[in-house]
Amino acid sequence: MTAIPSFYHQSAPPGLTGIKAWLLTHDHKRLGLMYLGAVFFWFAIAMVLGLLLRTELMSQGRTIMGPGLYNSFFTLHGVIMVFLFAIPAIPAIFGNFFLPIQLGTDDVFFPRLNLFSWYLFMIGGLFALVSLFVGDGFPDTGWTFYVPFSVQDSKNVGLTVTAAFILGMSSMLTGLNFVTTFHRMRDKNMGLMQIPLFTWSLYATAWVQILATPVIGITFVLVVLERFLSIGLFDPDKGGDPLLYQHLFWMYSHPAVYIMILPGMGVISEIIPVFSRKSIFGYKAIVWSSMAIAIAGSLVWAHHMYTSGMSDVSVFVFSLLTFLVAVPSAVKVFSWVATMYKGSIEMTPPLLLALIFIYLFSVGGLTGLVLGAAGTDIHVHDTHFVVAHFHFVMFGGTGFAFFAALHYWWPKMFGVMYTFRAAYWGAVLAAVGFMFHYVPMLILGLQGMPRRYYDYLPQYETGNFLAGFGAYIMVFGIVIMFVNLLMSFRKGVPAPADPWGGTTLEWKVPSPPPVHNFIDKPQIMDFPYDFKGVGEQSQKGSR
């Protein structure tokens, strides 16, 4: 081990100590970890909320809470999971930590803006927390804040959407930073086709962050203005059209789901080749499909509105376009599977979680076809089928990609290795629990059980009970994973620079990296997933 201190022991800007070295840092690595701490906090709260919701639903009638609290809980669960976990987690944590390293440079282009983004994230979260406790309490409109209810609701809608606005600014500025870094700070020897796929996925995501987020910005500004000024822009009595709110809302919120999934796919594209000891299949196809998903994802928003009363023509057009989006996603799944074919598979926790991702995301994607086809959507719109679909893709997808990223990059970020066995148990329990939790919801939805309902008809009780049971198994598995990761600090097994035999630049620097990332000038390979030279170097024996 060299005598060069890690970034924990050297501040950027230099000369800062103690808490100031974190709160005033320009170091993208420290910022990534600060996001990690905040995101863990929010994810835990939202996960507990979810558990409470499903416990309430396990039996008919009142179980543990009343209907008003139930409505606020599912709103809060959605707001936190969407705006404080699924959208920011992978880009803000792993993107911040690893994008500069993967590009061979020492930080992002605007380090102080990066710090500002983190403060915006914390302030937005604070606004959300405050809206829980003041006035009439947290909104019960659902995280979609549809008018007219959101404009009339006595609860703290204004505060909450302001929180979301601030969080959106944080996201947009992070995207701005990543695009500028990508174009202006790459190592001179790294051409576009030598950039790792995780960074490419962050680049595609960044454009969506920059261009889509302002739409929800203006939408939430209009909600606040309507609440205060009663202009009537969405009020039919005053010449307005409530459907235009839905158009504006989904114009962001659909691309937002691609902000959630693209970085997750980038993580999987990193993990699969390393643990197949084989170059990624279809590098260029994956790059192009990332950009295609970003673009196509901006064309389909009204597939959330088939039953809203919009014109038949738009139902047809948006349904047709929605089928197109499935194509580039499928390209990626084929590429990952083709990468593993005839590879030398090493089943580590990151790979197990990546495989679980591929399965759960694919199921989610297929159920998306049922929803994207307008005809079948009529039957399942606003039922638990929808709830199951988006949890398959956002949780089975983004959530498990987040777990995979944690397990892949944990040794690099912290310099310690976790226990594999507990990680396997946690992952399997989480996945099995996930299936027990969400598959019943697919069936319940097909049988007609509406979403966001506090109570239900007797025939739905068995499915809801099973789902609740699965929820507890799933949460148990997740807790095992988190505790196991945290225990790695207690056990203190040191991790080498390259525990996995990876080829991208983050594995060429110490674990954890020094403050300016690279000791020697990074050697850029012709192709980022060339495993020929790595087999001899990897220190696999250290596990």
């Binding site: 174009h183 202006r184 700070m185 790459r186 001179k188 454009w207 261009l211 739409v215 059209d241 459907l243 235009l244 158009h247 114009m251 901006s298 064309l299 928003w301 009204a302 509105m305 919009m310 014109s311 038949d312 023509v313 738009s314 057009v317 948006f318």
Partner: protein
């Protein structure tokens, strides 16, 4: 560090800028003048077309877009395309109710 193409940025002369301003003022006069002529439905596309022309002059010259690299030019075109999709695709609904 990619400080390539840091060669001296293009300087627009005062006379070039003045010509652009005169064009913009003339177009403003034109669009106000045309608004007094009643062409029914066509008033709107004509006014918007003149506005687009004015915007192009401000972008190309005052904002130096004519002298910028492909990343900025292409991404601006992309942004405007997204904006047109936002408005246009809403009309699949609004125009066919």
């Amino acid at each position: 560090m990619n400080v390539d193409n840091q060669d001296k940025p293009h300087v627009l002369s005062y006379s070039q800028l003045t010509v652009v301003l005169i064009i913009l003022l003339a177009l403003t006069g034109l669009t106000v003048g045309v608004s007094y002529i009643h062409m029914g439905f066509f008033n709107v596309p004509v006014a918007l077309a003149i506005a687009c022309l004015k915007v192009s002059f401000v972008l190309l010259f005052f904002m130096h877009l004519k002298y910028e690299g492909p990343i900025i030019v292409l991404s601006l075109i992309g942004t405007v395309t997204i904006l047109m999709i936002m408005i246009g695709f809403t009309f699949w609904d609004v125009a066919f109710r």
